[in-house]
């Protein structure tokens, strides 16, 4: 294995270790434990997701190295700088980046190569947008106005939802402006799964609004901003996924079916009312998302013979099941709390805010932190026999615009 690849693996693993060690330090500082065994217990509990993420990061680096990294390692520093700048270009301008990179191969002399690469990198950031900058500036202005207006308007109608509304519109608007700046148009290559994600996001907002109308002030400011960010992210991934990431339609469709199969049973089982059904619902609620993401990615990888397709299926499963699971879970939690003041797992809820927090953490923290690595692991296993990916750093040989 090359030294550069090892450095890439270390660079990918470092943030994982830093995040989990920081979380451990903050948690014990906030809530000191009573015995050494409790400290060890917390460390072990955090080591499990950390190990999952480390394995996932290793698999991602391995794939990236086969697709791009090995080629990059053959370039000198100016070449890598220019390759990084080209990578930031929108899809329809990528050929121009390839043109600059190809010309760099003809430039002789270290200082001349640096001058050429730096100048081209600057140009890559300034290449004319589709339709020019006015549409982007107009979209940015409208987005800022919408974000500023959304908070007070929604807050007046649903007290407690104002911060969420302002944050959601703000995040979404920023992503829309970014999309307009980078792309000619939004494509919808997989309308069915996209519609399901949109329905999930709409249901999430609707159920949260109903909950807050009944129990105002139960959504914390941090929770409101976090929920807004992840919902905007889900919508953006579903609607404006780059074309290169949507070449295979199997993954998103497979993920949509798997996500529905994951989120519906716990709600139905909870309605049965027996202890066995409740226990089964809880087990499904805990193990369903990791299993769904793993299986979606594994099957997509095995059928599509592509690591990227597999990861894509896992991500689609996550962005589909999280909003749907949250909306159904919160609706069910609200019903349960109104009946006997308990949570989904039977524990007594101190107040309505606990019901909302449980739905938030169960679907928007557990899934990204614990279940998402399973998608990468499933992709790694499913795409074991995949052919090596084609290097993306070279420009195509096809004639364009001639």
């Amino acid at each position: 294995m090359s030294r550069t690849r090892r450095w890439c693996e270390i660079a990918a693993a470092t943030p994982v270790v830093v995040v989990f060690v920081t979380f451990y330090a903050l948690d014990v500082a906030k809530d000191p434990r009573e015995s050494p065994g409790q400290y060890v217990g917390l460390a072990v509990a955090l080591a499990i997701p950390a190990a999952l993420w480390l394995a996932a990061s290793w698999l991602l680096v391995r794939h990236w190295w086969q697709a791009t990294g090995a080629h990059l390692s053959t370039l000198d520093s100016p070449g890598r700088l220019l390759a990084a700048a080209v990578w930031t270009l929108p899809e329809h301008r990528r050929a121009w980046g390839g043109a600059m990179a190809a010309e760099l191969a003809e430039v002789r002399g270290r200082s001349a190569r640096w001058r050429f690469a730096l100048s081209c990198a600057g140009a890559a950031l300034r290449l004319p947008r589709s339709g020019g900058w006015p549409p982007v500036a107009l979209a940015a202005g409208m987005a800022a106005a919408a974000a500023a207006a959304a908070g007070p308007l929604v807050g007046a109608a649903v007290p407690g939802l104002g911060l969420f509304a302002a944050s959601f519109v703000g995040f979404l608007a920023a992503l829309v402006v970014l999309t307009i700046a980078r792309s000619r148009r939004v494509r919808l290559p997989v309308p069915g799964p996209t519609a399901l994600v949109i329905v999930g996001v709409a249901l999430t907002i609707a159920v949260t609004a109903v909950f807050l109308l009944r129990y105002p002030e139960s959504l914390s400011p941090n929770g409101a901003v976090y929920l807004a960010a992840v919902l905007a992210g889900c919508l953006w991934l579903a609607v404006a996924t780059p074309p290169s990431q949507t070449g295979n339609r199997l993954g998103p469709h497979l993920a949509a079916v798997a996500a529905l199969a994951c989120v519906l049973p716990p709600t139905l089982l909870n309605r049965v009312g027996s202890d066995e059904a409740d226990s089964l619902a809880l087990t499904w609620f805990i193990f369903g998302p990791p299993a769904t993401l793993f299986l979606s990615a594994f099957v997509a990888g095995a059928v599509g013979k592509s690591f990227l397709t597999s990861v894509q299926a896992g991500v689609w499963a996550a962005i589909t099941l999280s909003p749907l699971g949250y909306a159904l879970g919160l609706a069910e939690g609200m019903r349960q709390y109104a009946i006997d003041g308990t949570l989904f797992d039977g524990a007594v809820a101190a107040n309505a805010g606990v019901v909302l927090s449980a739905a938030l953490s169960g679907n928007w923290v557990i899934v990204p932190v614990l279940a998402l690595p399973f998608a990468v692991l499933g992709a790694g296993l499913g795409a074991l026999n995949a052919s090596p990916p084609v290097t993306q750093a070279q420009p195509g040989g096809a004639t364009i615009n001639s």
Binding site: A99, E103, E106, A121, A123
Partner: protein
């Protein structure tokens, strides 16, 4: 490019001839191509081990515009501007 309209030119070659930095030249080439004034193609006979280079030449309308600009009064002198008229095209 207007002097030898049939010849394909390389980006680095144009930079050196015009004494322009690539960061200035490429955005101009992109705008000209967007407006149909510049024809672009990838080199098809690149030697092994070297990526194919991008080639440029003026289209018919690009040549017509170049001829029109060459025959008219020089805008920089007339308007006291240092930029050629087509730069913002």
């Amino acid at each position: 490019m207007a002097e030898k309209p049939a010849a394909w030119r390389y980006g680095y070659e144009l930079c050196r001839e015009l004494d322009l930095k690539p960061g200035s030249l490429y955005p101009i080439l992109v705008r000209l191509a967007d407006r149909g004034l510049l024809e672009t193609a990838w080199e098809t006979d690149a030697p092994a081990g070297r990526p194919p280079r991008h080639l440029y030449r003026l289209t018919g309308s690009g040549r017509a515009l170049a001829t029109e600009l060459a025959s008219g009064p020089r805008p920089a002198a007339a308007l006291g501007r240092s930029e050629p008229r087509w730069q913002g095209a």
